[in-house]
Assembly symmetry: C2
Homo-oligomer: 324 residues x 2
């Protein structure tokens, strides 16, 4: 099974989710529909809705409320992107102008708030108590992870443990929540819910590690973002953390100097990339990502083979093989 | 009964709410506790918790979860202040440096998101289904109002109806929700819940109208903010809307020119203040506020006299007589 097969398998269901998203951002206040429509229509991969739908289907239950709840998970993700782009002063997102670039920071902050509120509104309508608790904890952990990331900007003493904690908050908890909710509404028992949640956690960790590694190796045009963006923002990710852990004090000083310079020279990024390559930072990160995916797939071994289970394996593999 | 008597009456309960707030922002991520502590400790009037507590008490029921729920309502208010200050590029808040001034926009946006998430987490733990639905709708309407306000910045054709819609979203819905939740957990029947919610709505409308009027007339040091701040931000509030509705086309053009100038001259604010005074814009706004308060008090006439009811009347009167 390939990623395109997975998308085909859930195409009709994904269209229902799109319909829910479009209808839920339609507001009398036109700016909300405009900004919301721009970011929602920006061609995200819909990984979170896909995971929720395929887990719900794998569990075989009715999956009550799965379309609005998949929309909720994507909205929460989208709201965090709107705020992230303001925080990072990003000018593009997935190869298009970012919302803050078009409508300004104010609109992006407030429409982000609107999407969070709307998610909350939808989940209280269509989710049961367990679903709501799961999302409440996930959004709190997400915000905590984002603030923690902020405190580590430009800090060359950041550890791999710090990094894992950051990406758990900013990415893995919401992907784990998507899988957990799929399992809950699919009628899984408590042990199974935990296993699906763990699968989501590992896939989410791998997803972010690969995303961060691609920031060093992607060709222009891939990823829909420019190379070295994280470094520009002072975000030190796993490839560099690994190199720093093996490098000399002199090399660490040089990284620090580059990060703290107000302006970066053309050679700076190349030097850091060489430094990472010397200690095989990318290879190390990709190995960590593969380990997470392996662990995630193992946690689904209790499931009898089915199209949905193959889709979940394929999604996990896609995370580490995708080029953008 | 005076405002100080009201505060004394609920002092112990308010302390419980403070304790919930302090404990709920304590996080392993120190920046969250720091920024959260700064804004929470900034000496807000705690009008929303006071209303929730006094309504719950007036209803005579047990008021389960009233302390964490009062903290939730104050957190939602506080989160919106953090984001508003970023949007308005405010340097001060209640006479102290604003959080964005001290820690930057990024921290303010993310800690605001954290407070929203934490509120949601707390209410799903301590609120029943009706309470949660009420807060879900209120936060959505709040965000919608804030975006609507943004689209009306600098628009001299803004109508009184637009203005009332903005202040309903940015202020009245959350105050109405505080009263509604107090009534729900206090065991009021459906009709009574509606009446308390209406009381909250009117008090909230009056509160914002007075706040906006004080922006034209407060002495420096009062309100903890400088005069003419709204005008600086291009926000056209009721006193000016009223003057514009009665003024000449030439006067409207002059207001428009002043608002759209990149730099404002010293005489601009004085000219606008004279223009407002000429058409008694402040008098009109205060009259509207008094009408709202009168309507709000009337909606409580079904209640037998009690200390709590007197507190609710006093709170309503305080809104229109306060100087800061």
């Amino acid at each position: 099974m390939k990623m395109t097969d997975v998308i085909n398998l859930y195409q009709q269901e994904l269209q229902e989710v799109e319909r829910w998203m479009t209808e839920s951002i339609s507001s009398e206040v036109r700016l909300i529909s405009e900004v919301g429509g721009h970011i929602i229509g920006g061609g995200g991969k819909r990984i979170r809705p896909l995971l929720l739908l395929s887990v719900a289907s794998a569990c075989g239950g009715k999956g009550d409320g799965r379309y609005p709840l998949a929309a909720v998970v994507e909205f929460i993700h989208t709201a965090s992107l709107l705020h992230d782009d303001v925080i990072d002063n990003a000018q593009t997102r997935r190869g298009r102008r970012s919302a803050n670039n078009i409508w300004g920071n104010q609109a992006s902050i407030l429409v982000g708030d609107y999407l969070y509120a709307r998610s909350f509104d939808l989940m209280t309508k269509y989710g049961n108590e367990r679903v709501i608790r799961c999302l409440a904890q996930a959004t709190t952990a997400m915000a905590e992870g984002e603030v923690f990331q902020l405190t580590k900007v430009g800090d060359v003493d950041i550890t791999e443990e710090d990094y894992l904690r950051i990406i758990e908050g900013k990415t893995a908890v919401l992907i784990a929540a998507a899988c957990e909710i799929g399992a809950i509404i699919g009628g899984a028992d408590d042990d199974q819910v935990r296993l699906f949640s763990h699968y989501g956690h590992t896939v989410g960790m791998a997803f972010q590690i690969v995303d961060d590694a691609l920031d060093y190796i992607a060709e222009v045009g891939q990823l829909g973002k420019s190379i070295g963006k994280d470094l520009d923002e002072g975000k030190i990710t796993l490839p560099l953390i690994h190199a720093l852990s093996l490098g000399t004090p002199g090399e660490k000083e040089r990284v620090k100097a580059i990060l703290h310079r107000s302006e970066r020279y053309e050679g700076d990024f190349l030097w850091i990339k060489d430094f990472i390559d010397h200690y095989d930072g990318i290879g190390y990160a990709m190995k960590r990502a593969r380990d997470f995916v392996h662990e995630g797939k193992k946690s689904l071994s209790f499931l009898p083979s089915s199209e949905d289970v193959w889709a979940l394996y394929t999604l996990a593999d896609y995370i580490i093989t995708r080029e953008k």
